[in-house]
Amino acid sequence: MARTHYATDRGLIARMGATLFLIGLVFTAFIIAIVLLLANFTSVSGDGIIFIAVLAGVAISFGSYYWSDKIALATAGAQLVTPQQAPELHGVVDRLCALADMPKPRVAIAPTDMPNAFATGRSSKVAVLCVTEGLLRRLDTNELEGVIAHEMSHVAHKDVAVMTIASFLGIMAALLVRFAFYSELFGGGGRDRGRGGGGGDQNTFPVVLAVMAVGIVVYAISFVLIRLLSRYRELSADRSGALLTGQPSALASALVKVSGDMSRIPTRDLRAAEPLNAFYFAPALSGKQGQGQWSLSNLFSTHPSLEKRLKALDEISKQLSSSGSGS
């Protein structure tokens, strides 16, 4: 009988499920509001706005989903590499794929010094994994493996599809606001296709305003919710990646190295660094994100804070260290 060390993080899953539900709820409320407005509104310009916004939203979302790999590679300026060109990188990816029983994605390297890695693609078959040269320079093999396992978890969790669907609502709402605004700017005042005679102008303007208001509110709410969902997906990918490699501290160390702040763990000897301790410069980050959850930057960021990620990885480390006690 095999025990498992893969204790599921029920709290994270519950929060993610709740966020997905809320996004769906806002979407439904949006549709209802638009339908109600449409019922009172027969002008061609109003119907046109909504129709075009929906169509454009669908086209943009679907396009970015379907061609996500090509778009991402082109944006990053990345080049696909063969096993001969990057043997170590391919070796790491090979082994992770064998460990996770996943098909091997295409591998690309982007010539940027900024350390970064991403994996994208609408399905495992067209998935592509990209790392920057800066990342390869800074991390050792263990840490690189942790980062790649995190990225491959995104592919396994179908994050491209999930985030596209979730942000579809936000895109549509934003487009609706924009089209309503322009239509009011260019077309308002002249069109008189409302019901009855003479009352057309008064009907058009407030309803277009109402459409804009609905769009703005929906966009704002969905924006916050989508960022929240993105942060949960990142934590989830951290967790899956760490459990796949069995080395959460390697991923933690990679995150610290890559975080872009001054390195937390100094390399200078204490005795050499002693004079500096007199000028106590705290890390640039601890002021903002050390506090509670409600700061604006926390609300809008797509990734959880470094502290939060390290804490979650520590939990996994503890789970792996517990000998004798099962999950």
Partner: protein, 190 residues
């Protein structure tokens, strides 16, 4: 992984399939009859070492278990440049069954300790008259085999690999997806 699991980010670890290993002794005999590849008596298990005391305890138990018994070459535990650990067992070249049993004991102990998902592969080593190495690699997560014939300078002898597959197709379950025949450069015993 089911759709709902993927959606909610609940990765299920892939569990290894252990029992197909026992097809190896008869495969070694077939190989000996049909080609001039003979077993070297060296077999290894590769796994991704996890951090923490739980894993190092199991690793120690496994090596102790395998080192029990008289007249046995001691087990070697090495780690490679990717950070994966290899447990290498050596038996007499005609005792493939004993070797496979030992390798299975390693897998079984790791799985019993809850570390089944860390298992990567097992390799059984062969060599021919011209001293070319050949490994039969077993992928735990797929439950399938594939041949690996490395040549100097990180090259593979694909023709030989396909030929070996043809010879052994009735003894072992081979990996049908060629893109999963990953090279294992620098594996001990090859």
């Amino acid at each position: 992984m089911g759709f709902l699991d993927a959606l909610l980010g609940r990765t299920k670890p892939v569990l290894p399939k252990l029992d197909n290993l026992f097809g190896l002794p008869s495969a070694a005999i077939t190989l000996q009859a049909a080609t001039d590849y003979l077993p070297t008596g060296v077999g290894s298990v590769c796994f991704r070492a996890a951090e923490g005391k739980a894993f190092s305890d199991i690793e120690k138990d496994v090596t102790d278990l395998l080192n029990m018994g008289e007249n046995k070459t001691p087990i070697k535990v090495t780690s490679d440049s990717y950070g994966y650990t290899w447990v290498v067992a050596t038996h007499a070249t005609d005792d493939i069954e004993g070797l496979v049993t030992d390798l299975h004991a390693v897998n079984y102990s790791l799985e019993g300790g809850g570390f089944g998902p860390q298992l990567l592969c097992t390799i059984l080593g062969f060599t021919d008259q011209a001293k070319h190495p050949l490994g039969l690699v077993y992928l735990y997560k797929r439950g399938t085999f594939y041949p690996f014939a490395p040549r100097p300078g990180e090259n593979r002898d694909n023709a030989t690999e396909l030929r070996i597959k043809g010879v052994l197709v009735n003894d072992l379950k081979f990996e049908s997806d060629l893109s999963r025949w990953f090279p294992v450069w620098g594996a001990p015993g090859l």
